[in-house]
């Protein structure tokens, strides 16, 4: 079937199989930051944005993205780098496998939420699993990043 969509601002037209998951489709277009970490819609590693909303690309069919704007980490290099520095400062990474999906969801949260209590942050990020760390480093990094984004120090 024919689809037409924008990936990181670039118009793409294609003929795809109707059962192609969006995850496999964007990878075939070179967005290799988008990865599969599970088979059950549980890990959040495959997170990308459709029209600015974070979704699980393993769960959405590529056909559903027809006519829409897709954003992956490849399209947010500047911001990702900025946040990455906070992660590094807190020593939050171990293997780093969970990072791309996590960063996509953090950046979506920054755009979407107006208030950021600890509980709000946890509720927003709970769908991003990390098998290495125990989450405390990430949590500190997110809080420092939010503080900086609201005009605080780096």
């Amino acid at each position: 079937m024919e689809i037409k969509l924008w990936i990181n601002g670039k118009l793409t037209e294609d003929n795809i199989e109707p059962d192609t998951p969006l995850l496999e489709y964007v990878r075939s277009k070179g967005c290799l930051s988008v990865k599969r970490g599970c088979e059950t819609s549980n890990c959040g590693l495959c997170t990308l944005w459709i029209d600015e909303k974070p979704v699980l690309s393993c769960t959405v069919l590529a056909a559903r993205a027809n006519g829409k704007h897709i954003t992956t980490l490849e399209g947010l290099q500047e911001e990702a780098k900025e946040f990455g520095e906070f992660m590094a400062k807190e020593g939050a990474d171990q293997c780093g496998y969970c990072n791309p999906g996590f960063i996509m969801n953090v950046l979506a949260m920054v755009r979407e939420l107006k208030e950021f209590s600890d509980e709000d942050i946890k509720e927003y990020l709970v769908g991003n699993l990390c098998r290495c760390t125990g989450y405390m480093g990430q949590f500190r990094a997110v809080k420092a990043f939010l503080n900086y984004k609201r005009g605080g120090e780096r």
Binding site: G44, A108, E123, Y124, V126, G127
Partner: protein, 263 residues
Amino acid sequence: MLTIKEYVSVESLEEAYKLNQNVNNVILGGTGWLKLQNRNIVKAIDLSKLGLDKIEEDEEKYTIGCMVTLRDIEKNVSLNEYTNNALKNSLKDIVGVQFRNCVTIGGSIYSRFGFSDILTSLLTLDTYVEMYKGGIIPLKDFVNMPYDKDILVRIIIKKDGRKVGYSAFRNQATNFPVITCGVTITENKKVYAVIGARPYKAKVVEDNENILGEFSEENIEKFAKYVSENLKFDSNMRASGEYRKRLTEVFVKRTLKKLMEEK
């Protein structure tokens, strides 16, 4: 694995209904559940073009199109005010924000899962399903109807001034619930509880013996016991039936107390 031969984005409900009569064809919600199944679908029917992704409100009711996502409902300010966040509380622990941005209310309610948080919370409200052929059916009847090939078009919630509360117990955050518990106090002070994940489908237990004719600590405890004694509980990999029964008593008590304190 889910395989699909053909993808049809329909122009009308009639077209969708006709296609759906073939057993090899299927309506697509957010594909959250469908993609976990091993299924060979000939025609996948997409309702995206039909404008069913809106929550509408008038003086008497809310109307929620079947393609509205769980996250849209969770974020609807008016629905949160009307339900004192009970609906939101029943949604916020379902996997994660990204997942709730994908899955739909149509797919969730059509499926009538035993573990369903949202089926439980919607049963606390005066809720109806609008089926394309079957017309408008009270949710509490729809729960027990056999699965057919009709289309769930909208969910309707009538505003009648009741108070509702919701709570659930999970072994781990974001996992399926072990027990789900909704409580309703109607405008003329009738109380009922809705218990799901027993692990059976959510069921309403009314206060038929008027235990709560007077709201006292003692009567709340009596009612909580009454609810747990009037339901069937069973065991699965998440918990034993006996444990669920105990939890039910505790959760009915807590949820009802909290609801009364909020008055």
